[in-house]
Symmetry: C2
Subunit: 162 residues, 2 copies
Amino acid sequence: MSQATKKATEDDIRPGETAIDLPPAQDAQLRFIGRIRTPFASRTDCPRQGDPDGPECRIELDPEWAPALDGVDRAERLQVLYWLDRARRDLLTQSPRGSDGTRGTFSLRSPVRPNPIGISSVKLLRREGTVLVVRGLDCVDGTPLLDIKPDRCAHGTRPDGA
Amino acid sequence: MSQATKKATEDDIRPGETAIDLPPAQDAQLRFIGRIRTPFASRTDCPRQGDPDGPECRIELDPEWAPALDGVDRAERLQVLYWLDRARRDLLTQSPRGSDGTRGTFSLRSPVRPNPIGISSVKLLRREGTVLVVRGLDCVDGTPLLDIKPDRCAHGTRPDGA
């Protein structure tokens, strides 16, 4: 697929989808705190969701945040938040690839949403200074990092056992 | 505890904590898409984490996003993202209440973090138009809503069974 075709596919609306006419967002500011390095060079290379047995990826935290990593390796699994900076934000309904139906944005985990924040649960393999080496990410190489939290879902603290 | 004392406690640094000197955030803009109504009037009323058997809470989506809810009730559990607008953002290390140690921000799920985005897994009880009635939230009444996603963690798609 040529670069031009790919771009058109990513930005166009599919049949049945609807969009909202949005003014510029101005409610709260995010701060990028690092970058995520993955083997996925473009969005079409990315898996639909992170695979716990997938390739090693690197979470490169900006050095000024180093002290905030203290104790992070107590958790086997981390929740990683990142900004899907190439995703459009105005779709109300979407027709996902490989699906013949159209559904509301909030019933999907598509990157296309009013606040395109991606969340993955990853396995921490090791820490190398301000870099965390993990498995389980699904985002494109260079994705801006927003946050790292211990994964509560994996900690078994959910009384329903999930 | 008086209002004045409470405020000082919330904004002050505790012994052992460290902060970073931050310029204003300017990397990406969030858009608030609604409000979360809970019985928790102040941060001190909030539980440490959402309780699946806790009180009913209401996710009030702004009406223009209504079509994006189509199909949302297929999921029993939703992941709700919200903006912890009262949290300071500059702490590198923190000494959580009830703990005698100081740990890095990224090893904690404290609201205090560079991008104060809260994530809760909630049980969807019912939908009333653009309002979702749920259990399992832990945030203060009036918290700005950022996103709603089907909860992958609860869908059993994690091969480790979590």
